[in-house]
Symmetry: C2
Subunit: 186 residues, 2 copies
DNA sequence: GTCTATAGCGAGATAGAC
DNA sequence: GTCTATCTCGCTATAGAC
């Protein structure tokens, strides 16, 4: 693999694990098996590398989600499939994690892909829920935007609870609790 | 206020804003208006100061939550009151934020108060939901542990979505969506 | 493209004076 | 209890050779 590509993937991984503040150029170089000069040849510095890595992660997250969203099945089925998809729960969300990083939120260039990814996710979930309403799966009074935000929040919050506990269980509970509510809503 | 107390409160604030990795002893001293020697006289170092600050924040979080939980009203009313309580949404959760910090999760001493706080919260919410079932507010098939995890997750995830958007709105949507589901569940 | 050398700075802690 | 001096280390970047 080319050096630039290795640098990007290493940055994605380290950003996921340790965030922006906790990730040093040196650590990226070590992980990517690239020299100092090599890194600064391909990228202007830590910020540009992070920008590239975050944008890449956002694109990958959308593609992965769309696999479940675009499939067959009712709205609840597709949402359940998305939530219960095989996930490395204890590693958390690559994008959501970055919202804890003040330096990411403070830099519009780094923040944009984070904001865009969640904006897309909520919109997409709202579409699916609106479909569910049209098919009579959900009652008329169910608000798609609200429910979409709730679904996205359970996912992100599930990661937080699981990481706090050091165990997948709270994540699975939170997801099951939401699915129960979606199935039982009148 | 005494120096030790100022140091603890400054650490609480900085941990909230910047996390463990992003918070330096020097920054704490500056914020607390305490000298280097003063800090190392009262605490053995960054880790012990952080431990004290995290434990304090956990205790405060419980007390604040219990204010809504112990009040009058139905289960849904008390949960709604808790979720919709006046919060500085864009600052996020002082405890939940720490789950993004690998150094906190790796150290059992720092991690314990984080794990304990969320364990308490989920237990407490499950009790309230179980009460709701006994009072006929919720159907028999509603699982208190699952639902409690969902409620806690919506809160934590709501913060993530709001911080990503730079706007309280997604948090409010997620909370409203959950309350709608709790009210509509049969 | 990749390397090594170097720089300026802050992190985190210790030592010993007052 | 608090102060200043000092230490070692790693961060982030630049310079210039190869």
């Amino acid at each position: 693999m080319e050096t630039a590509e290795r640098l990007i993937r290493s940055t994605q991984r380290l950003l996921w694990e340790r965030g922006y503040v906790g990730t040093s150029p040196k650590a990226i170089q070590r992980d990517a098996d690239a020299g100092q000069g090599s890194m600064y040849h391909h990228f202007s510095g830590k910020a540009e590398l992070a920008r590239t890595a975050i944008e890449r992660s956002g694109t990958e997250l959308r593609a992965a989600a769309e696999e479940q969203f675009a499939g067959p099945g009712t709205a609840t089925e597709r949402i359940t499939l998305y939530l219960a998809r095989d996930r490395d729960v204890l590693r958390g969300c690559r994008i959501g994690r970055l919202t804890a990083d003040p330096d990411v939120l403070a830099d519009p260039v780094l923040r944009a892909p984070v904001a865009d990814t969640f904006a897309w996710l909520r919109t997409r979930l709202a579409e699916i829920i609106a479909e569910g309403k049209r098919n009579g799966e959900y009652p008329d009074r169910l608000d798609p935007d609200r429910t979409a935000a709730t679904v996205a929040a359970v996912l992100q919050g599930g990661y937080v609870l699981a990481r706090a506990a050091g165990d997948d269980a709270p994540f699975e509970l939170a997801v099951q609790g939401l699915v129960d509510l979606l199935r039982g809503v009148t």
